[in-house]
């Protein structure tokens, strides 16, 4: 109940203000431009439709995880900067409830963006018969990744002394996750790159989506990647719990 109250407060701050609402239409306009370019741009329109589906899923994931990281970075560091942390720590709320509230609030952007994005994925998938599978994998792996990113970022936010530093750290972490996914084929040239690609959770999600959407491969080929992703999320939850227990005003 307290977890729900806390996450609802984060949602209110995020969604029920004109500035807070701006990111959702911006996200949908961005996706509209992307699918419109698939149709009208000569270069992009030559692409195979499944590659278009993968690119759409990639855009949804990259933007969704970025939003999650920014909102999670605002959690403890933002409370501390706004002076609301004191009241929160004095309230009869356990640290687990506090963490649950922060995580639920941070996952809300992912959920909202996924709901907005589904019609785009559906329209790009038209005629391929691959919408349900690609949507299921996008939502499932994306939610697991979003939870992991939110947990790690809340944990880091708990240690950061200002909101600016918290967001900066979150963006650096996000860049660290995204770079191998964007540069993966060039990066896999040596063992360091391959190892990075193997452990990087965003690469694991991208490679899973690539495998499922483009190559139409089954679940058995995704198990190792999904286990790596689950390990990242599990470790993130442990890290966040450990950090949130030690949160103080100083």
């Amino acid at each position: 109940m307290k977890t729900r109250t806390l996450s609802a407060r984060i949602l209110r701050e995020l969604a029920f203000s004109p500035k807070g609402l701006a990111w959702l239409p911006a996200f949908s306009i961005l996706l509209s431009l992307l699918v419109y370019l698939f149709l009208t741009n000569v270069d992009l329109s030559l692409m195979d439709q499944k590659t278009m589906m993968f690119m759409t899923a990639q855009a949804i994931l990259l933007l969704g995880i970025l939003a999650v990281a920014v909102v999670a970075a605002d959690s403890v560091a933002g409370e501390r900067e706004r002076g609301t942390l004191e009241a929160l720590l004095a309230a009869p709320v356990t640290r687990d409830q506090l963490l649950g509230g922060y995580l639920a609030g941070a996952l809300a952007p992912w959920l909202a963006m996924a709901v907005i994005a589904l019609p785009y994925l559906a329209v790009v998938s038209a005629g391929t018969g691959g919408f349900l599978v690609s949507a299921a994998y996008l939502l499932g792996t994306g939610a697991l990744l979003a939870l992991g990113v939110a947990a790690w970022t809340v944990g880091l936010s708990a240690r950061s002394d200002s909101l600016r530093n918290g967001i900066l750290i979150a963006l650096v972490v996000y860049a660290g996750l995204a770079v191998p996914a964007v540069l993966s084929s060039a990066l896999r040239g040596n063992w360091v790159g391959r190892a990075y690609d193997f452990v990087d959770p965003l690469s694991n999600v991208m490679n899973t989506l690539d495998s499922v959407i483009i190559d139409e491969q089954g679940f058995s080929l995704q198990v190792v990647r999904l286990l790596m992703l689950a390990a990242f999320t599990g470790a993130g939850l442990l890290f966040a719990r450990r950090r949130i227990v030690t949160v103080s005003l100083s």
Binding site: S28, L39, D43, L46, Y120
Partner: protein, 188 residues
């Protein structure tokens, strides 16, 4: 996708080049030889659709009298539907390594490399194989295997535009309604 050709490059000259390549390449096996190496590139070729797969096998044979060291065989892709032809990055078409390598290729011995390519875009695709030997620094090219890849996607303005226009409007409308309701409640 970064290798996708631009529309302006589509020209009659490119079409002529593509047709010429179709004629010289032959449908199934494209072979070349120079020096001690014989190279052959085989695949189904012909007309395909984006999303299809094509397995290309390249066989290099040491037809010389002495062993060769450091023999490397690789394939290259080019879109020849326009002029000039546009080189395409292999990594977008296959996860397989770019080259196969043999430290030593004895007399009469063969080195075979296989690439399973996924046709990621509509194009007039020419596949070439190149063999390089480190010992005598010779380069041998195969003749091209040409595939005419047709587009398959079914996106039309009538499927895309309603979603591209209505979703942002719905999000804006929904957000506006929520804010209006909140202000109304706050005003009471």
């Amino acid at each position: 996708m970064r290798n996708v050709m631009s529309a302006s490059r589509r020209s009659l000259a490119g079409l002529a080049l593509g047709l010429w390549l179709l004629l010289v390449a032959g449908p199934a096996v494209a072979a070349g030889d120079a020096g001690p190496l014989r190279i052959s590139l085989s695949g189904v070729g012909g007309a395909r659709l984006a999303g299809d797969h094509e397995t290309v096998t390249v066989t290099v044979t040491n037809a010389g009298a002495k062993p060769l060291q450091d023999v490397l065989v690789m394939i290259s892709l080019a879109d020849v539907s326009g002029s000039p032809a546009v080189p395409l990055g292999l990594e977008d078409w296959t996860p397989a390594p770019e080259a196969a390598h043999a430290a030593t290729l004895a007399q009469g011995e063969q080195l075979t490399g296989t690439w399973r390519l996924r046709m990621i875009q509509a194009a007039q695709l020419a596949v070439f194989a190149t063999a390089v030997t480190g010992s005598d620094r010779s380069v041998t090219n195969s003749r091209p295997l040409v595939l005419s890849i047709g587009a398959t996607h079914s996106l039309t303005p009538w499927t895309v535009l309603p979603v591209a226009l209505s979703v942002p409007l719905a999000v804006l409308g929904g957000g506006g309604a929520l804010l209006w309701r909140r202000r109304r409640i706050a005003g009471r």
